[in-house]
């Protein structure tokens, strides 16, 4: 009996020792794992692809403010990183690739160029875009309802050229010649010269496509004496209209011609007529999409959104005597300045 109790006692001791060793090993492993994972959790990085600097890019500030307003908890826990891109496609591509190496949680591509650069980079990380290019035509997404891959966003593809010309015709039936100011990127991606000219012809007008890249070229183009030969100028929603907005408006007013714009801001800035997609929803929607992606939602399953409202803005009153508008169009306008 004594010997048996010793054996039992010995077995119990061995069991206790084994249990103790297992417990210690488990604790050690847990500590290692915990040490590895318990490093301060990395705050999600939101990489924003811009074309200027973080301090000068108003769009970036607007995006950050919108995030903090609509999703304060997410914004407080995230790091906003500004990627200084470039208008140069190759430089932009390199910047996007370099940013991807730092493994941001999501990349924001607020322009068509940045969206295309992110698409070409075949990034493995989620990308939320907002662009004026057609994402379906440019191959950024496979479907508007199910984008697939890792990109989703907002399509601001503008196909209102014909409608705008129609409004111009309704506003000033006497207009016969229209100068269409655009940049070459629109031409290369849309190939829309023929469409615009056909729309104009249907309305009894002749459309002449003019290209400018920047403010200098705008000055050179609209400062010529023959600039006044056109009855009206249609400024398409392109990069040049953004960078040389006020110069263009000033030239058109100087020329005393009808100005047709693609945004209400240009009418607000002095333009005569503007018919635009309502883009007021863009920043809110962009912030919402970024938040949903950070929450783990698959961007490829989030449909691409589009503007659903259109705004007609006109200007009347002093300074527009040379370019009177019909009462029909004024009554139709959503905004009258």
């Amino acid at each position: 009996m004594r010997q048996r109790s010793l054996v039992i006692g010995g077995a119990m001791s061995i069991n206790h020792l084994t249990y103790a060793l297992r417990l210690m090993a488990s604790i050690a492993i847990a500590c290692v794992v915990a040490a590895d994972s318990a490093t301060i959790p990395r705050r999600p990085v939101i990489a924003y692809i811009g074309h200027w600097t973080a301090d000068t890019d108003r769009a970036f500030r607007r995006f950050v403010d919108t995030m903090r307003t609509r999703h304060p908890a997410v914004a407080a826990g995230a790091v906003f990183e500004y990627i200084e891109g470039s208008l140069d496609a190759e430089v932009l591509q390199r910047a996007v690739a370099a940013a991807a190496l730092r493994r941001p949680a999501v990349m924001v591509a607020p322009t068509g160029d940045s969206a295309r650069a992110a698409h070409r980079a075949r990034l493995a990380l989620p990308v939320v875009f907002s662009c004026y290019v057609d994402p379906l035509r440019s191959g950024i997404v496979q479907s508007m309802s199910r984008p697939g891959a890792n990109m989703t966003g907002i399509s601001l593809a503008d196909t209102l050229d014909g409608k705008r010309l129609e409004i111009l015709h309704d506003a000033a039936p006497q207009v016969r010649t229209v100068a269409v100011l655009t940049d070459r990127s629109w031409s290369s991606y849309y190939g829309g010269e023929a469409r615009v000219q056909a729309d104009a012809a249907r309305l009894g007008m002749t459309a002449t496509i003019l290209y400018a890249r920047d403010q200098a070229e705008v000055d050179a183009l609209m400062g010529r004496a023959d600039a006044a030969r056109f009855d009206a100028w249609y400024v398409m929603p392109t990069y040049v209209s953004y960078v040389a907005e006020q110069r263009i408006i000033d030239h058109i007013r100087r020329l005393g011609r009808y100005g047709l714009f693609a945004t209400t801001n240009e009418v607000r800035a002095g333009g005569l007529i503007g018919y635009a997609q309502d883009t007021a929803f863009v920043w809110d929607t962009l912030a919402d999409l970024v938040t949903r992606v950070l929450d783990g939602e698959d961007p490829g399953s989030i449909p691409v959104e589009r503007p659903k409202r259109f705004v007609l803005a006109v200007r009347t009153g002093p300074g527009t005597e040379a370019t009177p508008l019909t009462s029909t169009i004024v009554r139709r306008a959503d905004l009258v300045f």
Binding site: M144, K163, E305, R331
Partner: protein, 775 residues
């Protein structure tokens, strides 16, 4: 299981009363608390669900009304436009075009308007994004929208443009000379804005499903853009399976599109056939109930703890007097009858304590009374015991004295009559002497019986258990009772037996002698047989007779004192009826089982079972009767020491009659003195035990042996029956003979002692012998 205690020792309580009360009260309190709280929670939950159902029903009603109103406004707008006299002067196509634009401004959801004729051909097309068309003649995409003029506006099926956005057509009939319709294309994303503006709690939602179960309006626009078919969605399935004006779903539990649990209510719009769903996260909807539940649980916890604490305190207070009562009763039970219980509870427990105190007082009084009685009775018993002991001692002394005083003259008479008988030549005189001897034998037997029964009554019989040669006992029986049997014309057959048993020789001989005497007395014809049978580790000594037998009814009575089978005895020598009583008592004292079997008219068998042993000390052996060699006695020098003159003279005469020369002295000193005048040492010593002048016979034997330096054979003939005498005599190397000793028996013993031996030259160790008394 009755749980009876096997002993009277107090049991430790398995559970204290305080703890038991605490557990019971606590459990009851907590159970009641739990039950009431559970019911409260249940009813509260039900009420919450009912409230949620009511609220959601109102919300669904309001949402349906809002959506319906939204659509009605558009319909009204179309109707307003349709009622104008288009085609008349000032109501041409340009005016209509402007009117359409006005509608699109008023109703942002309208993205395009068409006017189609009865054949569904377009006459006017106005769009927010596309170029207007006049008289294009293009066919209407959904010709099924066109009904009968005057019908209510009709809705088409949901379709998608731009790849994702949902649209629906609304056709309103125009009141004109020629039937026509105004068809508006509505962007249903604007309906999403309507439902987004409807609040359902903090995180609730309202969404709309069209007649094809497509999601057409949802606060999360991307859900709509996914073009989700909700035919298999559980709430839609359930709603579609029901019909009626009442809510198709009434606050039922389902999961939403993200898989989260929600409470859903659904209503159906009258036109179009759309379903409106109101859902709210279950956690949010039941938050008040959950808050109540949380509060209730918290209260239960707090209440439960308080209840337990209170129950513990209360039970302790309640159990305290009981525990004190128990402690006090324990002290009383332990013998402290003077202890009193002091309780001041003012209830039945205090009364119980008073009762215990009364009981303790009575117990104390009874105990004291009992002690006094016990003391008194003990004193009385002590007195009686002393008297009994004195009586017993007197009886013992009487027995010893009577035994010694009666046996002495009987012994003398027996020896002297034996000598006389041997000297008588005349036959008649010899016959008379025989009769005297016979009468002496009878008297000896009667005295022995009375003395024996007295000794047994007094408990003065102390057997000396030692190995006994059965054959010597049987030989003595044959010698003693053979003549008696022959005188009655009976045969006495004693079968020899070499066995050795462990018993008291004298008592065994007495037992067997009584049995044989009884058998002879109650046998008319035939005889008596004495034999032995081995029975395992014992030896059964049987006395078989062919007597008159014993009736079965008296088989136990025959062992009673003074019992005789009256009328059956043929012997003139009637006994006292003590023989078998002595046999039974003696057998009981020796521990020998005694049995009797009898057949009336045929005889009886008495048997006594005695344990056997393997060997027998040679000094105790008695020679058989036929081995008596009287020639060894001729010329033997016998020394007799006895302070009784009669005994001394009788022994002297007897030994002389045997041919011995005798030196008879009254004391050891005289014997030593007279031996000095003899030239030879005695060949045999016969001495009484009680000799005057403070010495006994054993001392005398040792003294004489030491004097002559020889181990002279010696006999101690005494009437003394003291315990230890047999052993002392045996240790002295002598033979003990109890008076009265018959002449024949004495002759046999003397002849055996004087028989020549191989160790006849054995000397005595003078150093071990006591010093002889001074001259």
């Amino acid at each position: 299981m009755t749980g009876r205690r096997r002993t009277d020792s107090p049991r430790a309580p398995r559970r204290s009363i305080a703890r038991r009360y605490a557990v019971h009260v606590g459990v009851i309190s907590v159970s009641l608390l739990l039950a009431s709280s559970g019911l409260e929670m249940l009813f509260g939950y039900r009420e919450a669900r009912q409230q949620i159902a009511g609220v959601q029903a109102v919300q669904a009603e309001a949402a349906a009304r809002e959506i319906t109103q939204y659509l009605r406004n558009i319909e009204d707008g179309l109707r307003d436009t349709a009622k104008l006299p288009w085609g008349d002067r000032a109501f041409g196509w340009q005016q209509k075009r402007e009117e359409f634009y006005r509608l699109m401004v008023l109703f942002p959801a309208i993205v395009e308007l068409q006017e189609v004729d009865a054949d569904g051909r377009e006459s006017l097309y106005v769009s927010k994004s596309e170029a207007d068309r006049i008289d294009s003649g293009a066919p209407l995409a959904e010709r099924a929208l066109l009904g009968v003029a005057g019908d209510a506006p009709r809705y088409g099926s949901t379709f998608y443009r731009e790849g994702a956005e949902p649209y629906v057509r609304l056709a309103a009939a125009q009141v004109a000379r020629t039937p026509s319709w105004t068809v508006a294309t509505l962007n249903l994303r604007f309906l999403g804005e309507v439902v987004s503006g409807l609040k359902v709690g903090e995180n609730g939602r309202i969404f709309v499903v069209d007649a094809s179960n497509r999601l057409i309006a949802h606060p999360r626009a991307t859900h709509v853009l996914r073009q989700l078919d909700l035919t298999q969605f559980a709430p839609v399935q359930v709603a579609r399976s029901r019909a009626g004006p009442a809510p198709l779903l009434a606050a039922e539990d389902h999961d939403d599109l993200e898989g989260r649990p929600v409470i859903v209510t659904a209503r159906q719009l009258q036109s179009p056939d759309w379903l409106v769903f109101v859902e709210q996260p279950r956690s949010e909807a039941l938050e008040p109930a959950l808050a109540t539940l949380t509060r209730t649980l918290l209260l239960i916890a707090v209440g439960g703890v308080l209840a337990l604490v209170a129950s513990m305190l209360f039970s302790r207070r309640m159990a305290a007097p009981i525990i004190r009562l128990r402690q006090a009763t324990r002290r009383i039970a332990a013998g402290d009858l003077a202890h009193r219980i002091e309780l001041d509870t003012g209830d039945e427990i205090e009364q119980l304590g008073d009762d215990f105190n009364r009981m303790a007082r009575q117990l104390l009084e009874s105990y004291r009374g009992l002690e006094a009685k016990v003391t008194q009775r003990t004193a009385e018993l002590a007195v009686r015991k002393e008297e009994a002991e004195r009586a017993n001692a007197a009886k013992t002394r009487f027995l010893a004295a009577a035994s010694h005083d009666l046996r002495q003259p009987m012994h003398s008479i027996s020896l002297l009559v034996s000598v006389l008988r041997d000297r008588l030549a005349d036959a008649q005189q010899a016959a008379l002497a025989d009769k005297v001897l016979l009468s002496v034998a009878v008297m000896e037997h009667l005295f022995s019986s009375l003395l024996d029964i007295s000794k047994l009554d007094a408990g003065a019989v102390h057997p000396e258990i030692q190995p006994v040669a059965v054959d010597s006992v049987l030989a003595q029986l044959a010698h003693a009772y053979g003549p008696l049997a022959a005188a009655r014309g009976l045969s006495l057959t004693v079968a020899r037996c070499r066995g050795v048993v462990r018993s008291d020789a004298a008592m065994l001989e007495r037992i067997l002698g009584n049995l044989v005497a009884n058998a002879i007395r109650y046998t008319r014809h035939g005889g008596v047989l004495v034999g032995c049978r081995r029975r395992g580790a014992a030896l059964c000594i049987q006395v078989v007779d062919t007597g008159i037998g014993i009736p079965a009814a008296h088989l136990d009575d025959i062992f009673d004192e003074f019992f005789r089978l009256d009328g059956l005895s043929l012997d003139e020598e009637k006994g006292l009826g003590l023989g078998l009583s002595i046999v039974r008592r003696s057998a009981e004292i020796l521990g020998h089982p005694l049995r009797v079997r009898s057949v009336p008219g045929r005889g009886s068998i008495f048997e006594i079972e005695v344990p056997r042993v393997d060997d027998l000390p040679s000094q105790q052996a008695m020679p058989p009767l036929d081995d008596v060699d009287r020639s060894a006695l001729a010329g033997a020098f016998v020394m007799v020491i006895d302070d009784d003159e009669r005994n001394r003279d009788a022994l002297d005469a007897l030994c002389v009659h045997w041919g011995c020369s005798v030196l008879a002295v009254a004391s050891v000193e005289e014997g030593v003195r007279q031996l000095a005048q003899h030239l030879r040492a005695p060949d045999l010593l016969i001495t009484d035990f009680r000799i005057a002048q403070g010495h006994d016979g054993v001392d005398g034997i040792e003294c004489i042996r030491a004097l002559v330096q020889e181990a002279i054979p010696a006999f101690v003939v005494t009437a003394d029956v003291a315990s230890g005498l047999q052993q002392r005599v045996a240790e002295a190397g002598a033979v003990l003979l109890h008076k009265p000793v018959g002449a024949d028996r004495l002759l046999r013993a003397v002849s055996a002692a004087l028989r020549p031996r191989e160790d006849a030259a054995a000397t005595v160790d003078r150093s071990a012998a006591p010093a002889c008394p001074p001259q």
